[in-house]
């Protein structure tokens, strides 16, 4: 069994975010759940990473910790060059606002605001003007055209997720995190969203990390990190859908075997 103590970014260059010996324990005593177990993983600037693993393996927990939505039980998370350990709620909130972009599986938009208002919301909250050039770039990349002034309820699921991605990008964050952003979409809409994210990596050198179950989605990325039982168990560079599918099969078989053996 190949266990990697630390996985390194594939692309050379600076690190956009990393987890160092990160553990997350829910509950305490008998019922304690170790959702993440001493995970150390780094994400390079301008890299598109997919996190995969069986349900309950700690993918969402890892994303939440990286996004400063949740705090580590042990270890550290570093976004850009800021360590999250010991930061106040206020500082964490500001960090989410300015340095992190997050896309959920669903319900990413404020229903009372138009698409355009949703996109600029993080900046508006911070009381900052958007960098006009970057804003224009993001807006045109979303490709929503005249639908920008519509309310979310008037947009399709794919359009809504693209607006959510644009919102995550607008403040030029260190990392964009997306937890199963295509989980609720059909394959065509998934393609739109993943294509959009790919472009932001290629054209704007944005660091993007997504969680997905879909080997096809994983194939859009530069690197796949596999989680199981709260640990990084494997990784794959320049993945293809077929290779990922194969790897998932192997890993889950090992999982089943491990469970059988252990049980």
């Amino acid at each position: 069994m190949t266990e990697l103590a630390t996985t390194q970014p594939a692309a050379t260059g600076s690190t956009a975010a990393r987890a160092v010996g990160l553990s997350k324990i829910y509950g305490s005593g008998e019922t304690a759940v170790r959702a993440l177990d001493r995970v150390s993983v780094a994400f390079g600037g301008g890299e598109f990473t997919a996190v995969m693993g069986p349900s309950g393996s700690g993918k969402s927990t890892l994303m939440h910790c990286l996004a400063a939505l949740d705090t580590a039980s042990e270890g550290d998370v570093i976004v850009g060059d800021t360590s999250l350990v010991g930061l106040s709620d206020k500082a964490l909130t500001a960090l989410r606002r300015d340095r992190v972009g997050f896309v959920f599986q669903a319900f990413n938009l404020v229903p009372t605001l138009t698409a355009r208002e949703n996109i600029t919301l993080p900046l508006a909250i911070a009381g900052r003007k958007p960098d006009q050039q970057w804003y224009d770039t993001v807006i045109s990349a979303v490709g929503l055209g005249d639908r920008l002034d519509h309310k979310p309820s008037e947009l399709s699921g794919g359009q809504q997720q693209r607006v959510a991605c644009a919102r995550a990008l607008v403040s030029r964050p260190a990392i964009v995190l997306a937890d199963e952003p295509t989980g609720n979409l059909d394959s065509a809409a998934s393609g739109e969203v993943l294509g959009f994210l790919r472009r932001t990596v290629d054209e704007f050198h944005q660091t993007v990390i997504i969680v997905t179950h879909d080997p096809v989605a994983a194939a859009y990325t530069d690197r796949v990190v596999f989680l199981a039982d709260g640990r990084v168990v494997d990784e794959m560079l320049r993945p293809t859908a077929a290779a990922v599918l194969e790897k998932v099969k192997v890993l889950s078989a090992r999982e089943v075997a491990g469970t059988a053996a252990g049980g």
Partner: protein
């Protein structure tokens, strides 16, 4: 099922339950308090009435036309004592208007409660207790001594042996006497704030009855086995003409009825506010259940999909309301008891001191409270319940469930129709006269209020949008979000604001009427009062006529007009009758009477145009007044406009009043100075002569007006205090709506926090939404209040409110306060929103 639902929504229902609690508390409190008040007065009446009472014919009524000046020769007492049916006959003299000045120089009890004096007897009242008993010290033995009731002596700070200062209605306006002893009234001493002074038998005759050996009444206790009726009948045989014997029960009952009328008025007054509280509370209940039903629509749809009939769903919601109503009414009853204690304290500050009199919860109070609580809640929950039952089963399968909402257009139509009907009613009220007119106007106002509440989702939108422009400027994204939140559910926002609107409409209306009344007072006194000084008591407590005589002797005083008051019934209702010497009055006042004040002769009466209108009187008509000596007839000689300078609806001559058997006592003195008089010197000299009389004050016209305006302010203060409860309910409504909205928007709140909104910003967002709702309610309310105020002032202009004054600054203050109230209402919901854990909020389905 219902109970489980309730427990699950405990928190959300608490606030709407609270509305019921407050509404019911108001109803219960009104009844409990007026019952206690009635009980206290009944205690006094029964505690002062013997088995039979011998009185001048028609006399002895508790709230009579005025103090009876007639007496009974003392020899009658001996005649009565000789009858076998009579065990004891005790002649007594009772005098009103004897006040105790405390050791601190202040009037005991302040303005308001009566000051009674009589001589000590051992008469036993129908309660079985002696009317008064000596507790400590001795009974007064001559003019130099008095005894006081324990409570009064206590409050005045006197102990036995102290020199007591008294204000009297007799020839000597003040006197001092040594406190010889302390007495107790009845068994418990409850005097409702009144003071009791006991004089020696002879002394009271010398001081107040010019030394004549007379009694104002004779109390009889029956011999063993003799009934009240037998006693009265036997006594009647030996009485001279003009004197009658009446049974204690009959007399007590008559007096209780008279008191009951006044108590009925107080009860109605309080119940009006209870009604306002309940209407406002109903809004809150409707709103809460609407929101709850909306939030549960999925669950209800599931029930429907599983085969529950519409009726079952309907019943599920209604039975939930029923449980809330039961709990709310029960708590409301308890809160009503506390409110009654509060009212008791409030009224005590006005001299109506119930002491520690027990507050009883009558069965009727319980029944009415539950009836009101149940009916209002169930009716208010019915509409949301009906809507819930219309949820199509298929919606259970959908992601976001929208309840079928009656189209805004239908609401708009109904609302506009209601408002139009209200306007029609008000117009009709204008045309109608007197009471019916005012009832129509009141009904019209209610219809318009409800109509406007219905259309408020439409009317409110532009107001909120306008506010939103300001919000956006000042608070950028947070302001935008708050505005959008206030706009996203117009019905909810409007219903919440409507509750506050009703409260503020009434507050604004009252402030306009109050301001107009004050302006009218100023104008009237300015126009009609030509006298330069006035001696009076703010509530018209009568004082010795000697004061007028003393003032007449002051150098520089040209003329003095004495003004007296009586309250005889005219056409069955108590009226304010003033009496003065026409010639004196003409020098003090410039009243525009057709035919001049000289038209007022002994057989004539002048009436204010309002009173004449109300009674349908025209010049030449006969006016019958019910005085102690019997009905007196007067001819209407003319009318005059109502004026704050003459506190009366009818005016007769002083001589006519004395002939009617009312004791001579002034309630107002107008002083006109000689042209060359040194005003301040004269004033100083008069001041000296009334210096030891804390019951009256000397003032110039401006101060006289000020005193009356303070009365108006005091009344307004009570009204505001009572309306404040409606506003409190409205605020709870805002809290409730916001709390429910925050729960409903849990995921959105989580999202906002996830993308970097600070807790502080989130709180501000909720606060701004709250302020928007509050300001919407305030603005609508104040606009309506102004409209109603103008209309009402016009309607009653002839009844003496002929100046319209709008207190703009005060209205502005109301708006600002409403905004602050919005801030206050947002505290808890905002904190709740800010405390939400981001991840749980996001994960919430």
């Amino acid at each position: 099922m219902t109970l489980r639902n309730l427990l699950a929504r405990k928190l959300r229902l608490t606030l709407s339950g609270f509305a019921i609690v407050l509404g019911v508390a108001f109803v219960a409190g009104s009844f409990i308090f007026t019952d206690a008040l009635g009980g206290a007065f009944t205690g006094i009446i029964k505690g002062t009435t013997a088995d039979a009472e011998v009185l001048p014919e028609g006399g002895g009524e508790f709230t009579g036309a005025g103090e009876d000046s007639r007496t009974i020769p003392a020899s009658v007492e001996a005649d009565l004592a000789g009858i076998p049916e009579v065990a004891v006959a005790n002649g007594y003299n009772q005098v009103q208007g004897v006040y105790v000045i405390g050791a601190d120089g202040e009037l005991v009890g302040g303005d308001g409660p009566p000051g009674l004096a009589f001589n000590y007897t051992e008469t036993e009242a129908i309660t079985g207790d002696q009317i008064v008993t000596l507790l400590e010290g001795d009974l007064p033995s001559d003019e130099s001594q008095v005894a006081l009731d324990v409570g009064t002596a206590d409050e005045a700070g006197y102990e036995i042996g102290d020199e007591v200062e008294l204000v009297t209605p007799g020839p000597e306006p003040t006197m001092t006497a040594t406190l010889s002893g302390l007495i107790q009234f009845g068994a418990e001493g409850g005097l409702v704030g009144a003071s009791l002074t006991i004089f020696d038998d002879r002394a009271i005759q010398d001081l107040f009855f010019r030394g004549r050996d007379v009694y104002t009444g004779i109390s009889l206790n029956a011999a063993d086995g003799v009934s009240q009726q037998q006693l009265a009948d036997a006594a009647q045989q030996v009485l001279p003409a003009g004197v009658e014997a009446r049974t204690g029960d009959a007399l007590a009952e008559e007096n209780e009825d008279a008191i009951g009328e006044i108590l009925g008025f107080i009860n109605t007054f309080l119940l009006v506010f209870a009604a306002v509280a309940i209407v406002v509370g109903a809004f809150l209940i409707v709103n809460t259940f609407s929101i709850l039903v909306a939030q549960r629509s999925r669950e209800l749809a599931l029930l429907r999909a599983l085969g529950a009939s519409r009726r079952q769903v309907n019943r599920a919601v209604l039975s939930e309301a029923l449980v809330v109503a039961l709990i709310g009414s029960t708590l409301g009853l308890g809160a009503g008891y506390l409110l009654a204690i509060g009212l008791r304290a409030l009224f005590a500050t006005f001299g109506l001191d119930l002491g520690a009199a027990s507050l009883l919860v009558e069965q009727r109070t319980v029944l009415v409270s539950y009836a009101v609580g149940l009916v209002v809640t169930v009716v208010a929950a019915y509409l949301p319940a009906r809507r819930a039952s219309r949820v199509a089963p298929v919606t259970a399968m959908r992601d976001d469930v929208a309840l079928p909402e009656a189209s805004l257009r239908r609401r708009l139509v109904v609302g506009v129709l209601l408002s139009v009907a209200g306007v029609v009613l008000m117009v009709a009220g204008f045309a109608g006269s007197g009471r019916t007119g005012l009832v129509l106007i009141g009904g019209g106002m209610l219809a318009i209020l409800l109509g406007v509440s219905l259309v408020s989702p439409v009317v409110g939108r532009p107001v909120v949008m306008l506010l939103g422009i300001g919000y956006r400027r000042a608070f950028s994204a947070v302001g935008t979000l708050a505005t959008e939140n206030a706009l996203r559910n117009p019905r909810r926002t409007a219903a919440t604001a409507s509750a506050l609107m009703i409260g503020l409409t009434l507050v604004a209306l009252m402030s306009i009427l109050g301001q107009s009344a004050k302006a009218t007072t100023d104008a009237a006194i300015d126009e009609t009062l030509t006298a330069q000084l006035v001696i009076s008591n703010v509530i018209g407590t009568p004082f010795s006529t000697t004061i007028a005589e003393q003032v007449r002797d002051v150098e520089g005083v040209d003329s003095v007009a004495q003004f007296r008051q009586a309250f005889p019934e005219i056409d069955g209702s108590q009226s304010f009758v003033g009496a003065a010497d026409p010639e004196q009055l003409a020098r003090a006042l410039d009243i525009p009477v057709a035919g001049g004040l000289t038209a007022l002769t002994d057989g004539a009466v002048l009436a204010t145009s309002a009173a004449a209108d109300g009674q349908g009187l025209t010049v030449g008509d006969r006016v019958a007044m019910d005085f102690p000596v019997g009905e007196q007839e007067f001819t209407l000689a003319g009318t005059f406009p109502p004026s704050g300078a003459i506190p009366a609806d009818y005016l007769i001559t002083t001589d006519a009043l004395e002939q009617a058997g009312i004791k001579a006592a002034d309630s107002l003195i107008y002083i006109t100075l000689a042209a060359d008089a040194d005003r301040s010197a004269v004033r100083a000299e008069i001041d000296v002569s009334i210096d030891d009389l804390p019951t009256v004050t000397l003032k110039d016209p401006a101060e006289f007006a000020q005193e009356q305006k303070e009365q108006i302010d005091q009344f307004l203060a009570i009204v505001y205090l009572l309306l404040a409860l409606a506003v409190v309910i409205a605020v709870l409504g805002i809290v409730n709506t916001l709390a429910l909205s925050v729960i409903e928007r849990t995921r959105e709140v989580g999202l906002l926090r996830a993308i970097g909104m600070q807790r502080r910003q989130l709180r501000r967002m909720v606060r701004l939404e709250s302020v928007a709702i509050a300001l919407l309610g305030a603005l609508l309310g104040i606009v309506m209040g102004i409209a109603f105020g103008v209309v009402l002032q016009r309607a009653i202009a002839e009844q003496g409110l002929d100046v319209l004054a709008i207190p703009w600054i005060q209205l502005g203050v109301f708006v600002v306060v409403s905004g602050l109230v919005g801030v206050l209402a947002a505290i808890l919901p905002a904190r709740r929103a800010a405390r939400m854990d981001v991840l749980t909020a996001i994960a919430t389905e």
